[in-house]
């Protein structure tokens, strides 16, 4: 079964109200104009409940086996119904999607950006997604940047670098960006190191996840600069810098490492990112309380 059919089936199963169920089913197969499409898309707000899906274990296994990238637990029912409308509408052009986004509210924009990677002609929509990254609304930014396979597949190097820099700047969880290591590049490493210098000049911290993107591109000069900052960092910063040093082929880095007496505990970049993110979340919640 194709992903679109599977999702449609799950959505229809979930809708207990027969009137809404047949409304959606009918719309999925009958929409022939942009106008009908826009109104139907907008009506999801009113008609469809917002909870997470109540999937049986076998349903969950089917989708996880066939489409492991999809992460259905990240989607709510209203988002999946919008996904279905988008995927079933045969006339979805760049022009109509651009117009749809221009009249979309936050929740709708999130659904659209999460859906685009799964559309048949996904590659056509790259300019729309690149433009989406310019948003100031964090939830919309996250829908594109985090757990979404689109940027890694379709963004040019400059577009990718812009997104990563903005994610760092907005303090988003970098480890949740798909293929973050595969798309590392030297230009990005230097941009991020410059960013770190700016932050240091203002006596501000940088995320320890920054070093993940610089790892592999450290030069002798940058290494010396980083080592100077290491002592000022906290345990999380130091773990990340140590990991970068361990991964480095630089002679200076290896010599420095050999001169250290303490044993270094192995840790993954994902773990460094996740620890930092959850620690920050906890601090925030504490400051709210």
């Amino acid at each position: 079964m194709r992903l679109s059919e599977l999702i449609k089936e799950y959505c229809l199963n979930e809708l207990k109200d027969e009137k809404i169920k047949s409304w959606l089913d009918q719309k999925l197969h009958s929409i022939k104009t942009d106008k009908d499409f826009f109104i139907s898309f907008a009506l999801i707000n009113k008609k469809i409940p917002r909870g997470h899906l109540q999937l049986s274990l076998s349903q969950l296994q089917i989708i996880q086996l066939k489409y492991p990238e999809f992460n259905i637990e990240n989607w709510t029912l209203d988002q999946l119904c919008r996904f279905s409308l988008l995927i079933y509408y045969p006339l979805l052009s760049v022009e109509s999607l651009t117009k749809l986004i221009s009249v979309a509210d936050t929740r709708e924009q999130i659904s659209i950006f999460k859906s685009i990677p799964y559309l048949e002609n996904a590659s056509y929509f790259a300019p729309i997604v690149v433009n989406g990254i310019r948003t100031n609304i964090v939830d919309v930014f996250d829908a594109i940047a985090l757990k979404n396979p689109y940027p890694a597949s379709y963004f040019s190097q400059d577009e990718w670098n812009q997104m990563i820099l903005k994610a760092v700047f907005m303090e988003r969880p970098i480890y949740q960006i798909k293929d973050i290591d595969q798309r590392k590049n030297e230009k990005l490493a230097h941009i991020l190191f410059d960013y770190a210098r700016e932050r240091w000049a203002a006596s501000r911290r940088v995320t320890p996840e920054l070093w993940r993107m610089i790892s592999g591109y450290i030069t002798e000069k940058l290494f010396v600069e980083m080592i100077k900052k290491m002592a000022e960092g906290n345990a999380q910063d130091q773990k990340a810098m140590l990991k970068l040093i361990q991964e480095s082929n630089l002679d200076a880095a290896q010599q420095w490492l050999n001169s250290q007496s303490t044993q270094i505990e192995p840790i993954s970049w994902d773990q460094i990112g996740s620890d930092f993110w959850h620690n920050n979340q906890a601090l925030q919640n504490a400051s709210k309380a």
Binding site: F38, I39, A42, L43, N45, K46, S102, V103, A104, D105, T106, R107, E108, Q109, N136, I137, V138, D139, K166, F169, M170, E171, N280, Q284, S287, K288
Partner: protein, 299 residues
Amino acid sequence: MKFIDPHIHMTSRTTNDYEAMSKAGIVAIIEPAFWLGQPRTEVGSFKDYFSSIVGWEAFRASQFGIKHYCTIGLNSKEANNESLAEEVMELLPLFALKDNVVAIGEIGYDDQTAAEDKYFRVQIELAKELELPILVHTPHRDKKRGTLRSMDVLEEHGIDPSTVIIDHNNEETVESVLERGYWTAFTIYPNTKMGSERMVAVVEKYGSNKIFIDSSADWGVSDPLSVPKTAQLMLDKGITSEIVQAVCYQNALEAYAQSGNMKESDWSDGVHFDQSILYGGNSVLRGQPPKKSDDSNII
């Protein structure tokens, strides 16, 4: 005490206002679609404006712990540009269904022209179709006649008065609006419209049933703290806190909750500084640590 300001144009206000409002106890606001101080000449300007009040402004408000709603509609002044008005009518259904939209509005009369009448009626029908409440702006000039005419037209279209908010009332209009069963809103303005003192007298005379107040603060001389300040004055004058609560919070909530899009749980657990981590630069907080709520009374 918690407050709702059910009529305020935050698009033209600063972050200082948001901070002060949050500090004064305002937990939720409604931003009616209105004009921007000068007439728009392109339909795209309306689209971007509507888009901003269903998305960006709601996000901006959330950073100060305030839940933001809006109403969608073509205001009466700009209804007089008929070719533009036609294009705006096409846009309205797309925005009126959005998540934070609690009414069609503000609509009604300004100069009471034929064009204004036409688009008032078209939008009443839209509200009926989408089952949304209606927010009616009553005119500054010839107010009494304009208010009565608005109610006549609404009733001609079979609208239930309990789903309509008639705004910018004064001592001259209050009685007939209340009598006919409409939600009766008052705008507290420093210079024009109602002053806080006069408002206290209205509440003393008519009680709190179906009455609520707002600031209508916009790009002109106006005060985004009108609601909490008037509440304080009412309390000082010996009006009970139950009545003050009804006029400055509960009645507006009840009126607009009829949309299905506004409920107390949207803010009771706190819209509180959800994005406080964003002090990096793209947030509206830009560098300074987010303000924490405290109970001190700044009024």
